[in-house]
Structures are given as C-alpha cells and as structure tokens.
Amino acid sequence: MLSGARGEAARAALAYQVQVGEFWDAERFVPITNAHMMGDIEVMGDGGLGWLREACAKRAHCEVPITTNARCFDFDFVERLGQDAGEAEKERQVIRLLRDMNVVTTDTCINYQTVYQPHLGEHVAWGDTGTVIYANSVFGARSNFEGGPAAFAAALTGRTPDYGFHLDRHRKGNLVVRLEADCRDLADWGAVGKIVGERHQRYFAVPVFTAPRRAPIADELKHLGCALASYGSMAMFHMVGVTPEAPTLEAALGGNRPDDEIVVTDADLERVYAGYDLKDRSCNLVVFSGPQLSLLEMKRLAEAFAGRRVHAGTQVFVTTFSGVKSAAARLGYLQAIEQAGATVLEGVCFYILQNLSQMRLKNGWSNMISNSAKIVNIIGAHRFNTILRRTRDCVDIACEGKLR
C-alpha cells in the first residue's frame, strides 16, 4: 500500500498512520471492522474542507464501514437559529464529499446505541470520546480516541496502529472508585464522571467502579463515560459485575496496584451541584444534548414535559439522531416535547452548533443549564456560565423560569 498500489489516498493515509504509530511505539497494525469519524465544518474549517476535496480528487474510497459524528447544522433550522448560510453550504459540501468517499453520514455521537455495537475484543477506530469509552468499557471492544483524519485513514486502509487500548496491558484498571452514592439521575452519573475525571486527567487512567447500588442502564453508562472522557480524557472504565472485562475487582485490575482509591458519596454529588456559580440567576437556556438523546431518553423527557409549557423567554434545546427523532415522532414523544415549547434538533450537538457564540450574544444567554456533565464542561470556550442539574430539575427550571 505504501508503494501506491491501492492509490495515492490509501498510500498517504498509511504513511500518516505509520507516523502516528511510531510516536506511540506501535509494533504493528491491527485490522479494524468499523470506523466512526468527526467531520463537521465547525471543527474542520476551510483547511479541512480543502483537504477533503483533495482526498476526493485522489479517489479516496473507504474500505471499512465508517459513520459520521454529530455535526454543526440541522439544515431545517439554519435560519431560525441565525446560522450562516455560507457555512451551511460548506457543511453540505462536507457531507457530499464524505458520501462520495463511501462514508455513511449518520451524524450521530451515539452510534453505539443506534448504528453499530461491536463485540468483545473487536478492533474499531472510533471518535468522539464518548463513543470510544463506551466501546472499550461496555462492549469490551478496542479503540483509541481517533480524531477525524485518523478514523478516516483507518477506514481507507482497513487498519489502525496497535497501541493504547488495542493492547491488553492498557486495559487493566489502575484506580478504584467505591460508588456509595445513590445515583438516580443521568446527571448524577455525569457528576461521578466529573469527580473522578477531574482528579485523574490522564488518557491511560482506567477507573474500576465497585459496589454500585444497582446496575446502571445504558443511558447512565453513556453519561458516566462521556463525563469521564470529557473531564479526564479517559478512554476506558470498568464496573465490577457490570462491564465485560470486570467479572471481579481482581480481574479488572489484572494485577495492577491501584494508584488511588476514591469513594464517591451522596454528599460528594451534592457538593458538585452546589459548586456552580449561578451568576445573575438567569435561566433562559436549558439544553439536553452532548451526547444526543436515545429514544428512551426522549420518552422520559416527553413524560417530564407532558402538559407543561416552557417559561416565556426561556429556550430549551434537545438534540438527537435522525432515526431517533423520526421514531420519537411516530411514538408521539416528539410532539409532547415540542408542544411544551422545546426545540428538537437532529444530527447535531448543541455545543458544536455553527455560530454558537454569536447565538449566545443575540439571545442574551449567559447561564446554560443542562443535565449533561459533559456539555457543562465542554462548552466553556463559547463563554457560557454552565450549571449541571438533574433531568427533572432542568425541566422544572425550564418551565418555571426559576434557577435553583
């Protein structure tokens, strides 16, 4: 392939992968079965778009199924959100170019709930971080964080350098978290991720959670993983008796002596919620996003909003996968959420919406309230003051117009 027998695009992709692999002392490549890439105009910019055009001109063609992550436009809302029509056109070009190169433009950050569920030991090349930590931890599949160009290169060549979480030795736990808190809401699981992630900002930190009061459901594991990845840059966790590589604490640690033992209690969770500066106490923006909502999250949100109205002057945004939105419409969940006055966007994530900083100024948003610990962390560069609240509290704040 390096001689160009499979074309210039595959040659360049492999040469790039060799450089990345050498940095990490990878000794070989491993074949992959699935890739997932971030590729939206907000993060790629004109430089990235130009690069895609060149790759397409070189007849790049993905050999392995590859899907796309959430992007920065829902094309039905460009005008309503005051987004830039020129940038929207560029986003359309990105989508066209990717499709021409055999990329499946799903535009979802919850591919692991909606599109593809790899099995134990399966090697994949995924990004964003939430997808990777879920693949490694909950499925027992194997992936590093793969940025857009790296995941795309892996789909072109059908392989990825064998380092990091592809190797057994990095998958063993190295810190222990005793989970005494009674996590009842998605935000509680996110808060646990924040507490652990902030304390250990390290890609190769692998926490092992012990003694959860009950086994979490998929959406809860999703919020825990997204928060660990966001605050701690972590790519894997274990939960004893819950995740496949952790039948016991000993098995999860695999002989490692933990660097740290953390206990997370109800009081720790309350300290997280109490720790946010409410600033001017404004609450004109409530967001359910980052990660996109599953169908069951949409259902619960529909139930919480049923028969209520979003407070005048407050805006509520929900983001999800196109397939979830259409299913939610068939099931009536979408109508319940929209009738309350919330806006449901598909194929996007709130924090990467094009023009978000200007949107913030135009709408007079200063505080952003969310039940997602990840988005509360991640949206900082747009100068929001962010506040984490439980799902039910977010709905109450949105409908009553009172921050607490």
């Binding site: 790039y16 450089q19 990345v20 050498e22 940095f23 990490w24 002392d25 971030m38 590729g39 993060v43 790629m44 910019g45 004109d46 430089g47 990235g48 130009g50 690069w51 992550n69 990004g127 964003d128 971080t129 590093n144 964080f145 793969e146 940025g147 857009g148 160009p149 790296a150 995941a151 380092y163 990091g164 900002q201 390290r202 890609y203 990845a229 966001s230 605050y231 840059s233 790519a235 962390n377 991640i378 900082g380 560069a381 100068r383 003051n385």
Partner: protein, 142 residues
C-alpha cells in the same frame, strides 16, 4: 549558536525543529474546550491562561483534556495562520498526536523534569523532536 541555558529531555516526539517563545501552563489543554479557534487565544473562563495567545508559541501543558476535535483543529488553525509552533505535553492523548502529525506541528510527551523549573513564559526555546530535546536559549523579560 550559543550554548543553551538549560535543556529538557522528552520521552516521545514528532515534527520539525522549531524555535519560539514559550508559554508555560499549569493547566491542561484542549483546542475545542479552551481555545478560540478564530484568534488562537485561550478563552475558556477561568483557564489559567485565559486571554493568552498561543499563536506561534511553544506551549507547555501538563495534560491533554478531552478532545477528538484536535484531530482537525490543529490543521484548521494552521491553515488560518494562528497555530502554535509546538505542543509540549507532560501527558498527552492520541488525538493530540494525530492532530499535530496531520498538521505537521511539533509535539512531544513526557519530560525529565518539570518545565517550570527551567523555563518560564516569554523565554525563547528550541524544540528538536529528532533529538527528543527542548533547549532554553534566552530568558524573556520578567
């Protein structure tokens, strides 16, 4: 070429030899969470480098935060002419490396002493990835 004032050995490195002004951060870094990718300035409220420009700088960060976005973001800011010259991490993550390699920006991980012992913001430093060495060439105005 005068002898360096001090040197740091790094564990892993990629990229061209570069010289530039140092920015030494006590806090980790993510190009999507912390950086304004239209100006090259750290804008996350409360970040220890809030208001500091990374354009053309040799940036020392203890850790990498989050970040699949770095995969494209470095290429994008390089294209816009507002990229740092080098990223020197205590501990980094794969996407920072993938992004820096993609943009041909020097990147290193691991150091044999805490950089703050020998280098301060404003100092002039040279990064030589092939020799896995960072040299402090000139003190900045303190």
């Amino acid at each position: 070429m005068s002898a360096p004032l001090a040197a740091i050995r790094v564990a892993r490195a990629f990229g061209p030899v570069v010289e530039g002004e140092a920015v030494v951060s006590a806090e980790g870094f993510s190009p999507r969470y912390d950086l304004d990718r239209w100006s090259g300035v750290i804008t996350k409220p409360g970040h220890k480098l809030e208001g500091v420009s990374l354009v053309d700088k040799i940036c020392f960060f203890p850790t990498a935060k989050g970040g699949i976005a770095a995969g494209w973001a470095f290429y994008d800011i390089r294209h816009k002419g507002i990229a740092p010259k080098a990223l020197i991490f205590g501990v980094t993550n794969p996407v920072m490396v993938q992004g820096a390699v993609f943009a041909n920006i020097a990147i290193t991980e691991g150091w044999d002493r805490p950089p703050a012992e020998v280098v301060a913001t404003g100092d002039w430093v040279r990064v030589d990835p092939s020799r896995k060495t960072i040299e402090i060439l000139k003190r900045g105005d303190r």
